[in-house]
Symmetry: C2
């Protein structure tokens, strides 16, 4: 069984967990706070990031791109379509939106909210900076407008079928939703999509997550939110 070094609210780790669950692969989860930069983590990954996938007899698979490609290559079922579309146009659109989420949304929203609300809890005396959270939430509102616009004409974010880009977006929004930062009332089209993806069996593992001293916001685990 693969082992996954992860943090419960790290969106890239959540993306790996969703892939495992979707492909019916059990994974041993090992909680890490990457920002503590423990020597054991730095030895495996000098970049001090998660996710990291460890399989017996193999070198660790380190980083988001390496892990998502390794899960796809090693565990995607061959009989049914996986999360990477085979048709070139759909594939390009999947990569475009995956990058949008992993780079742009992360850079403008998620990383700031995690830094202020989660990482700072481990710095004695540090408190979330309201001005940073305000900017991150304003940025999130802009992103939601774009996602709403996409979902107004599409069943899934990259087109007619569910792809890895849906899981990437769901990973980020689920982290933000845990922290109570998604104003669903302002995003009806995205909410409808999120309700659909949230009710997939693969999502259950995320909905059971709890962080010590930081309870999930109301509605986080409700399928009817």
């Amino acid at each position: 069984m693969p082992r996954l070094l992860h943090h419960r609210l790290d969106p890239a780790s959540r993306l790996a967990r969703l892939m495992f669950a979707e492909y019916g692969v059990g994974a041993d989860l090992e909680d890490i706070k990457p920002w503590i930069r423990e020597p054991a983590l730095l030895e495996i990954n000098p970049a001090a990031t998660v996710p990291i996938m460890i399989e017996p007899g193999e070198p660790p698979v380190v980083g988001t791109l390496a892990v998502l490609h390794a899960i796809e290559d090693r565990y995607a079922p061959t009989a049914v379509p996986g999360l990477f579309p085979s048709e070139p146009r759909a594939r390009a659109e999947m990569w475009r939106l995956l990058e949008w989420v992993l780079v742009k949304l992360n850079d403008e929203v998620t990383r700031y909210i995690l830094e202020e609300k989660i990482v700072k809890r481990d710095h004695r005396g540090a408190t979330p900076e309201p001005s940073v959270l305000r900017v991150a939430k304003a940025n999130l509102a802009e992103h939601l407008l774009y996602f709403n616009w996409l979902f107004a004409t599409r069943q899934w974010i990259a087109g007619d079928t569910m792809t890895l880009a849906d899981f990437a977006l769901a990973s980020h929004l689920s982290t933000l939703d845990y922290l109570g930062d998604v104003l669903w009332d302002t995003a009806p089209e995205t909410r409808q999509w999120y309700a659909r993806i949230k009710s997939r069996p693969a999502f259950r593992t995320l909905l059971n997550d709890r962080i010590a001293g930081m309870p999930a916001a109301a509605g986080y685990a409700d399928l009817d939110f």
Copy 2:
């Protein structure tokens, strides 16, 4: 012939150009300043980033991940090994280091240097902020230590064969080298690798680049630097 919307010093655009050149594919280059956010660009890519690949009769391929996968899928020769290794361990190491360069190196070094030295030229009255450049260069020194450490035991950055991760690193370092920000004397192992990759025919296209009003630093185009 594919068309590539790019900026000459944008590292991700350079990565796409290196792939095209390595695979023997001519591409029509169209210069864009993505930070100007012209309506014609936003219509194709609301994220206002390059590279964007355009082929007749196909929707545009937008963003770094989409473009590099599309070039690999559509243009990699089948007879010889491409830039994506097929062996799983080598592949995982390639993705790890590609992410290191595209995300971490970009985030800690390249984006700041480009913002201060290139983007600000288009803001009336703006000048590069020395404190930002100082931090970016200190970060670059740390990255070079890590690359030196890798190259001390490896021919190429991800192992024994050249991969896309080498092109990614070469793209970033060539941009920084154009601007005179790589202190090669401090990085003998990385310099040796860069001399090797710089002398490949695919690299010539980059070495001929010139930016109006911003000449290349001494040694940029020299194979013996």
